[in-house]
């Protein structure tokens, strides 16, 4: 049994929250450059150039890439041979979020109750998903999830008869209805299969894969590429000003499902795709 102290977890989460908001991952920067080579719209090109400069300013001047510094979604892969010492895992993560957002000059965007809407002041709590896995490692995957694009995420219970074609149409429809509101170019995280909640959680986890990396399943990879091509023919373009770059990627995760069901969840993510991970 390996022991990991809660303070180690808090320190790691704090660092991930701050870095995610200031340093966009290199795969996103490559996606901007790649899009600039194919984008026909002058307004679209100006947006992409501005986003590149924005990323550079965020990193060098320590100004958050986006003022919506997100809802912290934390996926934890907890090795079953790990013992967490000194407190609770959930508290450790939230302490890290609180310290990261307070000390890192990040915006507090979370209200305690959806009804009375009083800000918690330190961006806690995080949304935490824990998977127990073999081994003695603890992997923390943190995403600072923007609210504007999250509001455009959607869910559909399709019938088995609807099949793959309807799944593809539904993903495309989600991108189309997200439109300019969700800050395109977008990334669509898609969960297909499982139960109601499983598909939704998969749609979030799917966003952690590197932009431009192939899906390990060749059949699913082909679906992703087909939908991405169609998405980029919609004409929405960067910020919705018209253009060829509406989405950077479609990432799909699947799970076995019931003989009656074909659940499809689509998490819409904006170009401010801020995520970091670490293995302790």
């Amino acid at each position: 049994m390996r022991e990991i102290h809660v303070s180690t977890i808090s320190d790691a989460v704090k660092k991930l929250c701050v870095e995610a908001n200031y340093d966009l991952e290199p795969d996103m920067l490559r996606a901007f450059d790649k899009a600039l080579k194919t984008e026909r719209s002058p307004a679209g090109k100006q947006v992409l150039e501005m986003l590149k400069e924005n990323a550079q300013l965020a990193r060098t001047q320590k100004i958050p890439y986006c003022q919506d510094t997100g809802f912290v979604v934390c996926f934890v892969e907890l090795g079953q041979d790990v013992h967490i010492a000194g407190g609770l895992l959930t508290d450790a993560i939230n302490t890290g979020v609180s310290q990261g957002y307070t000390e890192g000059y990040l915006r507090a965007s979370i209200v305690k109750s959806p009804f009375d809407r009083k800000n918690t002041g330190d961006n806690t709590p995080a949304v935490i998903h824990v998977d127990v896995v073999p081994g003695a490692d603890l992997k923390l995957m943190v995403m600072a999830k923007g609210g504007g694009c999250e509001n455009r995420s959607k869910y559909k219970m399709l019938t088995p008869a609807a099949g793959l074609e309807r799944v593809k149409d539904w993903i495309l429809e989600c991108i189309k209805t997200a439109g300019p509101d969700a800050c395109p170019p977008l990334i669509a995280g898609v969960g297909v299969g499982g139960t109601f909640e499983k598909a939704a959680i998969l749609s979030k986890k799917a966003l952690f894969r590197g932009i431009g990396s192939p899906n390990p399943d060749p059949q699913v990879d082909a679906i992703e590429k087909e939908v991405l091509d169609k998405a980029n023919r919609l004409g929405i373009g960067p910020q919705g000003y018209g253009g060829d770059t509406t989405a950077f990627a479609i990432h799909i995760l699947t799970y076995p499902c019931h003989i009656t069901s074909l659940p499809v969840a689509v998490t819409i993510e904006c170009h401010a795709h801020r995520h970091k991970e670490v293995t302790l």
Binding site: I63, C66, N151, C183, G235, H271
Partner: protein
């Protein structure tokens, strides 16, 4: 006041007149100098509640521009933190009442409802788009910040920003045009 610069971008200075508004067309690139008032969901809720009770507003919106944003905290020595636009559509239910009071401009991102677009035509107003997610970039154009109402709302307080050359694009003009619809039509294939 509006001046077309040599680079094809229109320089405008607040407050805006009806003539200023009418000369702007969807797709125009614009640099704003002057004052912007920030307000988003919670502040709009309070403003409209005051109007419904027949009470005066803490700011005079006549001729002014409201920027839909909730900035991140400023680091010591900096004027403001990250300050990009939030989704304008969430303010749709509140907007027509402010336009009726003479509000001339709004800055946000994302589409507006038909009633808002109608009210913009009727009262002569512009909806500008700022690039969503470019909050670090946009912060450089903000020269001064002052909280003028609802400090208890934190990031959602109403702030008076003094800006120089703040870059936006006209999404909805006062003639009923919509950049999102036109852009999509032009590039769909």
């Amino acid at each position: 006041m509006i001046k077309l610069a040599a680079d094809g971008i229109k320089d405008i200075r607040t407050p805006l007149s009806d003539a200023d508004v009418e000369s702007l067309k969807s797709g125009d690139r614009v640099r704003i100098t002057g004052v912007l008032y920030t307000a988003r969901d919670a502040a709009h809720g309070r403003l409209i509640a005051l109007l419904d009770e027949g009470k005066p507003l803490p700011i005079d919106v006549k001729g002014q521009i409201i920027y839909y944003t909730g900035p991140s905290p400023a680091r010591p020595g900096m004027v403001i933190g990250s300050v990009g636009p939030t989704t304008g559509g969430r303010m749709d239910t509140y907007t027509p009442k402010l336009l009726a009071l003479g509000l001339k401009g709004m800055i946000g991102k994302g589409a507006r409802s038909e009633p808002v677009r109608e009210a913009m035509k009727r009262h002569k107003a512009i909806y500008f788009g700022a690039v969503g997610g470019a909050g670090a970039f946009l912060s450089r154009y903000v020269k001064k910040v002052e909280i003028v109402a609802y400090e208890d709302l934190g990031t959602e307080a109403i702030r008076r920003l003094e800006v120089e050359g703040f870059p936006v694009i006209v999404v909805n003009d006062a003639h009923g045009n919509d950049l999102y619809e036109e852009g999509m039509k032009q590039y769909a294939r």
